[in-house]
């Protein structure tokens, strides 16, 4: 990226912030040949995550994590707040979309062999993100505080109780008491709203830094063709593909 020296606010900003270089690093990086729509699943997940964050932040304006009022506050969102059903539905369906998309993204990475050197750490961070997303789904499920939410959480935390030796301790830790009740709801709310989002943002940032730093892996088919090309051209010199170093 050539540094532009000149007048104007954008140049002033760029000389201090270097945003053009950052923009180029993120949006104008080289990508390998042979990519398809499956390679957009990660970006799709990021998009839905941002949507979830936005709608979640706004839902917090009305939602009340208190067993006496939680359900009523949601009825209020549904029946009295402008665009309430829309915003809540986006968050509701977005949650399912997140889980579906991270799984599809993981399958793509697995079957394209993208987790191999040098991208093992990206994969590991990705697996952490998968569990964080599932934890988001689990904690968010209780918040409507209806029968389904209550009993799903009762069953889910019962499962934790089945862990040998420390099961009942973990169960109490999750529920904030012997049964799902007054302390469970604020607990799940805090985890859903504060603990998990902080971790998610941290690991998503790390994941993206790794993706940008290491580049997208060449799909196996395209890599094979590149290798063939390189072998045919071998006497002449190293091909551009070979010069780039290891790719997938």
């Amino acid at each position: 990226m050539k540094e532009e020296r000149g007048r104007g606010f954008r140049n002033w900003l760029d000389q201090r912030l270097g945003y053009r270089a950052a923009w180029a690093a993120v949006f104008e990086r080289s990508i390998p040949e042979g990519l398809n729509w499956a390679y957009t699943l990660g970006s799709a997940t990021l998009f839905v995550f941002i949507l979830q964050a936005l709608t979640g932040i706004f839902l917090a304006l009305y939602y009340t994590p208190n067993p006496d009022n939680a359900w009523q506050s949601i009825q209020f969102i549904e029946n009295h707040v402008a665009f309430g059903p829309m915003i809540r539905s986006l968050h509701h369906w977005g949650a399912s979309a997140m889980v579906v998309l991270v799984f599809l993204h993981m399958l793509r990475v697995y079957f394209m062999g993208s987790f191999k050197y040098p991208r093992e750490l990206t994969w590991i961070v990705g697996v952490i993100l998968l569990f964080l997303v599932l934890a988001m789904g689990f904690t968010g499920y209780l918040l409507p505080w209806d029968e389904k939410a209550y009993w799903a959480t009762t069953v889910g935390t019962n499962m934790v109780g089945a862990v040998p030796f420390v099961g009942s301790f973990l169960e109490g830790l999750l529920r904030g008491g012997p049964s799902v009740g007054v302390l469970t709801l604020p607990r799940f709310y805090a985890v859903h709203m504060l603990f998990l989002p902080a971790l998610l943002v941290l690991f998503i940032t790390l994941h993206l830094v790794l993706v940008i730093r290491l580049g997208i892996s060449t799909p196996p088919k395209a890599a094979r063709q590149e290798r063939l090309m390189y072998e045919n051209r071998a006497p002449v010199g190293r091909s551009a593909a070979a010069q780039r170093g290891v790719r997938g």
């Binding site: 080289s30 040949e33 936005l54 706004f58 304006l61 707040v81 402008a82 551009a240």
Partner: protein, 188 residues
């Protein structure tokens, strides 16, 4: 690296035509992406702002109570009307039962009095006695005339007349409770 574009001579275009082709493809795509992003931002942003600002547009709750058609009230015959008032504060709803006495006179449609159904002494429910043509309170013997003036007992002030209006032949009143046991009519 994009060998496909390179082989088509589009990446480092040296001919004007190719340059133009490269520009239009790239800019078309970025316009499409930017346009979609902008559309999503506008649609979502509008809804989020509307969602957040929603309570600010809420009309202040009014406690006007519909008391039914004016013709249902006969001049000189007080009539009791009972209703439930619902006061809404966010998702919190408080309901309470209330009643008023409607007294119509002979001087046309605006000759109406609507009395709060509580005795001004300590809030008991008084009722119309057709035999004596008085409003009698059973608790401490308070008595009022058909106009609400105190004629006997401890009530410190007349019956509390409420604001009313007649529109489209229907009578409604602005229900209000007042401080009990004092001679001044002060909203509670």
């Amino acid at each position: 690296m994009a060998p496909r574009e390179e082989s088509a001579g589009l990446r480092h275009g040296d001919g004007g035509q190719q340059d133009e082709a490269r520009l239009s493809r790239r800019s078309l795509l970025s316009w499409m992406i930017g346009g979609s992003a902008g559309l999503i931002a506008v649609v979502l942003g509008t809804q989020l702002i509307g969602f957040a600002a929603s309570p600010a547009f809420e009309a202040p709750s009014s406690d006007w109570v519909d008391l039914g058609p004016l013709d249902a009230f006969q001049p000189g015959v007080p009539k009791n009307v009972q209703f439930v008032i619902t006061h809404r504060d966010g998702w919190k709803e408080e309901s309470k039962a209330a009643s008023v006495w409607v007294v119509r006179g002979n001087q046309g449609t605006n000759d109406v009095k609507v009395f709060n159904g509580h005795c001004t002494h300590l809030g008991c429910i008084y009722s119309w006695q057709a035999a004596t043509r008085t409003f009698d309170c059973p608790c401490h013997g308070g008595e009022y005339t058909i106009d609400g003036r105190v004629i006997a007992g401890p009530p410190p002030r007349p019956l509390d007349a409420l604001e009313f209006k007649v529109s489209g032949g229907r009578l409604s009143c602005l229900y209000q409770d007042f401080k009990l046991g004092v001679s001044q009519k002060v909203p509670a």
